[in-house]
Amino acid sequence: DQQVKQNSPSLSVQEGRISILNCDYTNSMFDYFLWYKKYPAEGPTFLISISSIKDKNEDGRFTVFLNKSAKHLSLHIVPSQPGDSAVYFCAAIAGSGGSNYKLTFGKGTLLTVNP
């Protein structure tokens, strides 16, 4: 059972426009969410995170929104740049009260930003 779902395998946007990547989750015990970017032949790079007590976190061009009632989060990239082209993974942790802080990942969304 997929506890973290990224239903769009790919997304293509024009340079300068907004990229919106979506993620849904089913486990109500998740209390922290992270986005990672991954280039081919490299490990995932941490981008931005959000605690379940917040509904928005912003860092430069990247903003993550969390809707707990809908169990949905999204990553907004504005403006999009060709260098943003990569696979983006949504991940979640059920930390509170847990014995380990394992990351549960979605399958990823391939973002292509066209010049």
């Binding site: 490299e42 490990g43 995932p44 941490f46 930390g95 380990n100 802080y101 394992k102 990942f105």
Partner: protein, 113 residues
């Protein structure tokens, strides 16, 4: 500061063989986790270690084992390799076992033939 390092970068093994993968965490980080990523999927949790003790294990067979050393580096061992073990093996480090943010190394690409 150096990030998470992993060795080797690539590895080719034959079915039935054994493999050892190595990871050095970011300086000051005491927790190491291992993940397996197969093509088209997100990384899957294998183990978490903190202060040389196993803190968590994912849904992997007993052929997979790991350990952490006093300098916080870690090894992942896989015995009796199967074709299905071919994957990218990722190591992630964090400051504490209870740290939410984990930082990944470049991974070891294992191919089993």
């Amino acid at each position: 500061d150096a990030g998470v390092t992993q060795s080797p970068t690539h590895l080719i093994k034959t079915r039935g063989q054994h493999v050892t993968l190595r990871c050095s965490p970011i300086s000051g980080h005491k927790s190491v986790s291992w993940y397996q990523q197969v093509l088209g999927q997100g990384p899957q949790f294998i183990f978490q270690y903190y202060e040389k003790e196993e803190r968590g294990r994912g849904n992997f067979p007993d052929r997979f084992s790991a350990r952490q050393f006093p300098n916080y580096s870690s090894e992942l061992n896989v015995n009796a390799l199967l074709l299905g073990d071919s994957a990218l093996y990722l190591c992630a480090s964090s400051r504490q076992a209870s740290s939410y943010e984990q930082y990944f190394g470049p991974g070891t690409r294992l191919t089993v033939t």
